[in-house]
């Protein structure tokens, strides 16, 4: 069977989240820098609560020297660090700022420096222009530039649906790009469209097979 199964943690944000939740269980074997807190509230639908974010994977290329090898928009924000000795660290969202704060004490491109200069640093207001030098190669940097634009559009659409008109909520990210794409994504009229189908069906039906 198609066996492209390595590195699943970074392939999907939900895998990062699930892996982070396993940390702390006695059989967990990964190292973490903190507990995930963004989705720990009881009650409600946790899938529905997920906001927009960015997943980042960085690798240690030489002792103490790290580079970004993948970044993409996700409903989960998190960082996975692969080290030269084969170990792996997962950094949940709430721990990322403190890791970035340590960058000033790093003597080379450590984890904090790389995160600060990458897309997640940009989204958290830590840089105004992402550095191409913290990416493993230029194509990764170019892809992240495209992802930055994509994140804005996705966030803008989510904000619009939720009725937000101001800056991004939660203090995670900042944005001054609102309204930029309005000419491209204008709202359609619902003049003759109909809704309310299946309203009389009731709750007994299950659709899965």
């Amino acid at each position: 069977m198609n066996n492209k199964i390595t590195g699943r943690i970074i392939i999907g944000g939900i895998f990062f989240l699930a892996n982070s939740l396993l940390i702390g269980c006695e059989s967990a074997d990964d190292v973490t820098l903190g507990r995930p807190g963004a989705y720990s509230d009881e009650g409600g639908n946790v899938m529905a609560q997920r906001q927009n974010g960015v997943m980042t994977m960085i690798e240690e290329v030489s002792s103490g020297d790290f580079r970004i090898v993948k970044e993409y928009p996700s409903k989960v924000t998190g960082v996975v660090v692969k080290k030269l000795d084969g170990t792996q660290e997962t950094i949940p969202e709430e721990k990322i700022p403190s890791i970035m704060d340590q960058s000033k004490n790093e003597k080379s491109m450590g984890v904090g420096s790389v995160l600060t200069a990458g897309l997640v640093g940009y989204m958290m207001g830590r840089n105004s222009s992402m550095s191409p030098y913290v990416y493993k190669d230029d194509s990764l940097y170019q892809q992240s530039l495209m992802n930055r634009q994509l994140l804005y559009k996705q966030q803008e659409e989510d904000d619009k649906r939720r009725g937000y008109t101001g800056y991004w909520s939660g203090g995670r990210y900042y944005s001054n790009y609102h309204g930029r794409y309005n000419d491209q994504f204008g709202r359609a009229s619902t003049g003759s469209a109909k809704s309310g189908f299946f309203s009389r069906l009731g709750s007994s039906f299950r659709s899965l097979g």
């Binding site: 069977m1 198609n2 066996n3 492209k4 199964i5 390595t6 699943r8 392939i11 999907g12 944000g13 939900i14 895998f15 699930a18 892996n19 939740l21 396993l22 269980c25 059989s27 967990a28 989705y39 720990s40 639908n45 946790v46 899938m47 529905a48 997920r50 997943m55 993409y72 928009p73 996700s74 409903k75 994509l150 559009k153 996705q154 659409e157 989510d158 619009k160 649906r161 491209q184 994504f185 709202r187 359609a188 009229s189 619902t190 003759s192 469209a193 109909k194 809704s195 309310g196 189908f197 299946f198 309203s199 069906l201 009731g202 709750s203 039906f205 299950r206 659709s207 899965l208 097979g209």
Partner: protein, 392 residues
């Protein structure tokens, strides 16, 4: 067959990732605390079988359309145009489906049971839950045939590439709306939200709206309650249900497709594959094919067989008949109004406790994930899910 015990993942972890339906009645866990052990050859055989079967389904689908065999598949006439419109346009890409297969272990031959092509379940279980079991038990993720999440993500990329307007390099970002019934429960909603999350990571702008609140317009297309129009609509809502309960909506969707306002996921032509009637067509086209079970519209004379309804789900409305035509086992359900097909009995791998194992192989452009359901008797929607471990 070989199964190995594993330490269960804490319920709290399941809840927090959105997997709420892990508990089953009868005081047993829905997730088995054992893994089915398979070897590489067995895994590769499942992979080849699903790919070959999908190619056969495509040929059978074309045959049904060419010969107008919709009555044989129990497909209402008012869905014909929708099916054919999506079939003839490559931008209507099949996102994912799941083959249910008998055999494959203990030397038993792999046989097609059915193809859940329109609204497959088990996505959370195959993609995430069995992977969590590996991680929690310090097993390597390489020891599992499980590429489902990535395959769906890649397929969203193909969907975009196939779109006549959105497939170009400098095109705007596609918008996709995801829906299920408001009262369908956490399983349906979280499954839909998981697919939405995958689409988001694949670079789509996504939204979620309950089916009852979605706006449908022949000119406007498909909109959420704020009036945002979408390029794609993923619905965990079977087409045969649309036709039976809201025929006006079926007409609107046909018009929306005709005007190319929106692309439906899964495409309407997956209804051809979803109908168990197509297994009669497959047997007619590929008689005695090693992956197929003999199927007919009448009981198989002198052979043990299974009576199924064309659009029954989750093991409902199934009767097992012995060679003399006597009912030896049965499950009732709410699908009794659909037509019947009779499929030859296939042996399922069985463990020491007498539980039967049915393999589910997901297909998303290619075979991409394996999981098992097990039960002492007819497998249904509350039968245990068992993950697997590939022995090297």
């Amino acid at each position: 067959m070989k199964i190995i015990p594993v330490k269960p993942v804490p319920d709290d972890v399941y809840k927090k990732v959105g997997f709420y339906w892990y508990a089953s009645p009868q005081d047993k866990s829905y997730i088995a605390d054992e893994l089915v052990v398979i070897n590489r050859d067995e895994g590769d055989a499942y992979y080849r079988a699903a790919n070959e079967l999908y190619a056969m389904y495509v040929q059978a689908g074309q045959h049904v359309i060419d010969q107008k065999l919709y009555p044989l598949l129990d497909i209402p006439p008012n869905l014909g145009e929708m099916i054919e419109t999506s079939w003839d346009d490559d931008s209507h890409f099949h996102l994912l489906g799941r083959f249910d297969l008998a055999g494959g272990l203990d030397g038993l031959p792999i046989k097609l049971i059915e193809f859940n092509a329109d609204t497959p379940s088990l996505i959370f279980e195959v993609a995430l839950v069995q992977w969590l079991l590996l991680k929690h038990n310090k097993m390597k993720e390489e020891n599992q045939y499980n590429n489902l999440y990535e395959a769906i993500k890649e397929n969203f990329g193909r969907l975009r590439a196939q779109h006549p307007l959105l497939g170009k390099q400098d095109s705007r970002i596609p918008h996709a709306l995801f829906s299920c019934f408001e009262e369908a429960g956490e399983e349906d909603e979280n499954t839909v939200r998981l697919i939405e999350e995958i689409a988001y990571e694949a670079g789509f702008i996504t939204g979620f709206e309950y089916v009852e609140k979605v706006f449908f317009g022949a000119e406007e297309g498909i909109l959420d309650k704020e009036g945002n129009a979408f390029d794609y609509w993923f619905k965990l809502l079977p087409y045969e249900i649309i036709c039976a309960y809201e025929p006006e909506l079926a007409g609107l969707l046909t018009e929306i497709l005709r005007r190319k306002c929106c692309i439906l996921l899964n495409p309407p032509y997956t209804l051809l594959f979803q109908s168990k009637g197509i297994m009669k067509v497959l047997w007619d086209l590929f008689p005695n094919h090693p992956l197929l079970l003999e199927t007919d519209c009448k009981p198989l004379a002198g052979k043990k067989c299974v009576e199924k309804r064309t659009f029954s789900r989750e093991g409902d409305n199934i009767r097992i008949l012995d060679a003399g035509g006597n009912v030896v086992s049965a499950r009732d359900g709410e699908y009794g109004s659909y037509g019947k097909i009779y499929q030859a009995w296939a042996e399922l791998p069985t463990d020491e406790e007498g539980r039967l194992y049915q393999a589910g192989v997901f297909f998303s452009y290619e075979a991409c994930g394996l999981g098992f359901r097990r039960e002492k008797g007819i497998i249904h929607n509350q039968s245990q899910f068992a993950g697997h471990y590939v022995e090297t």
